[in-house]
Subunit: 328 residues, 2 copies
């Protein structure tokens, strides 16, 4: 089996590639070859897969999608995207990478199949940013996609293309709408969602962290480990049960900021909690107010997707997988 | 005021142009100029508008969208599309016309506005084909768009672009999802939905018509006159009440085939009903089974859109507007 990971240099892409290399298999089949692509050459993980190529490729550049499709990988993970903030700042770049890049890839696969029969599994990472206020709590699986950002728009459009290309038999697509990933490893970043990880990660390391919103703010969270597990499950599940709606809301933890802080206190004591500085930021409050609070992801649950159920587990996963001095 | 109608050669486009020319005004403003565009030069209606240009233009051709945007019309009606059946038969053409054509137009307007401030009202005709089974009855305004055709996919994507371009301030967009238009004037056509008009239109003219589905089939109908009224209302309504969700389900008549036949009998007697030949067609039955039965179009009602409420009215409108020997 040949596995292609596009966007293999990002946080989730690196973790996915590492896990695939570690086990050397996917859905019971041996991975004989793996191709890791990103705009700069992604790291090549050690493990059970002998042949791993790292490619520097911009999927929106002429010929790039054709090159990737011509590899005729059995499973393609398409994770490549520029993030929400950048897509909002640079309208043209957002559409070029997140929409045109995706469509060029889908078209290249379709045309590759016209030359010679080809029906890869294609796993696409979408986002809860396809939803925009007003939103019910929880959000059911059949709620309208009405994004409030260009990034969310590009993801929602890609989902529609994924469904149509799958229906037409050009590939076998599965999309997953990732929850906000908590606890993200590494340094704080400038994303509006950054504090959801920061208020846990920094205090766990004995460092101060800013909380810009009220403790009543509720959001939908899953660990990096679960995100990788979602991708692998999406690559191997039986798609006959999916029907025409090819993208699924993923399970997660519906937690308020107060829930997060309580879990931090249980994990690291009141001294850790004291490292959180409450500095309300109206801009971030306003952005977050339009985001999903929780989901009722019944279809995903029925198809065997699962995730953490408490913030305590999210912290445990971080301490085991990613914290400085973590086991792995 | 300058009004541009793209897709002015189609049935609804011609009726819209005729109505605008007849009144010579839109939302209380005088129409000083009207440009009618379609792939072949659309007919130029007589009336109160002195300057009417007819353009032959394929919006997906290089430079065409720029040419249309450079007209800097105050109101743009974008009705151009290839129909469902053709978009399903010819995958590439469907995406080229229905998606690329729309996106090129939107981009050309955005770039025209970069050169010099420009914020036209843009009215886009979408379709209930953005919905696909399983569907509730009635469908609420916040139900997921999950099309089962490439045409529906292209319309749903165009709606997402319309919302994002409007949110970014590139134009002031309003989308309307047209019900199935009944009674369509003219000759029978090959569309799967054709019989909804045919079983009324042909018997009203003393001719036989085939009913390919069961009488329990329910669907969502509006007259051509209402479709034109929707477009004009969409061009003139106050968009501050729309929010980020720029495309609306239109009001209509939820009628079963049995309801249609009963109204035909009331209008033209049992002899007319006897002209309907029941010839079940499994293919058409299966296609129709995935279609919406009815809507609860609360947002549109709140914004002042209205339509017929009975099949009897649909027949009256046809007899007044379109039937051979009709008044207008």
């Amino acid at each position: 089996m040949h596995v292609l990971v596009i966007g293999a240099g990002g946080m989730i892409g690196r973790k996915l590639a590492t896990e695939l290399a570690r086990t050397g298999s996917l859905g019971g089949a041996e991975i004989k070859r793996m191709t890791l692509a990103d705009v700069t050459p992604p790291p090549v993980p050690a493990g059970e897969v002998e042949a791993i190529d790292a490619l520097a490729v911009d999927i929106s550049a002429p010929g790039a999608a054709e090159r990737l499709a011509s590899l005729r990988a059995d499973v393609i993970f398409h994770l490549a995207a520029i993030v929400s903030g950048e897509a909002e700042r640079d309208f043209e770049k957002g559409y070029r990478i997140n929409l045109d890049g995706t469509r060029l890839l889908f078209e290249a696969i379709r045309l590759e199949g016209e030359r010679q029969a080809y029906l890869p599994r294609l796993v696409f990472t979408s986002s809860v940013a396809v939803y925009g206020a007003p939103l019910p709590d929880p959000i059911p699986d059949d709620y309208i996609l009405a994004p409030l950002t260009s990034y969310g728009t590009q993801k929602a459009i890609s989902e529609l293309l994924l469904a149509d290309y799958s229906r037409r038999g050009f590939f076998d697509g599965v999309g997953i709408r990732l929850p906000t990933v908590v606890i993200r490893p590494g340094a704080p970043n400038a994303a509006a969602s950054g504090f959801f990880s920061g208020i846990l990660r920094e205090p766990l390391a004995g460092e101060r962290s800013v909380l810009p919103v009220k403790e009543t703010v509720k959001h939908w969270l899953a660990s990096p480990r679960s995100a990788v597990a979602f991708l692998i499950h999406a690559a191997t599940l039986e798609t006959s049960g999916l029907g025409a709606r090819r993208t699924l809301n993923m399970p997660g933890v519906a937690a308020t900021v107060a829930d997060q802080i309580a879990a931090l206190r249980r994990a690291a004591g009141p001294d850790a909690e004291a490292l959180i500085d409450r500095k309300p930021d109206e801009t971030i409050e306003r952005i977050i107010a339009g985001w999903p609070k929780s989901f009722a992801p019944e279809r995903a649950a029925g198809l065997g997707f699962s995730a953490e159920t408490t913030v305590d587990e999210l912290i445990e996963v971080y301490l085991a997988d990613d914290a400085p001095n973590a086991a792995s």
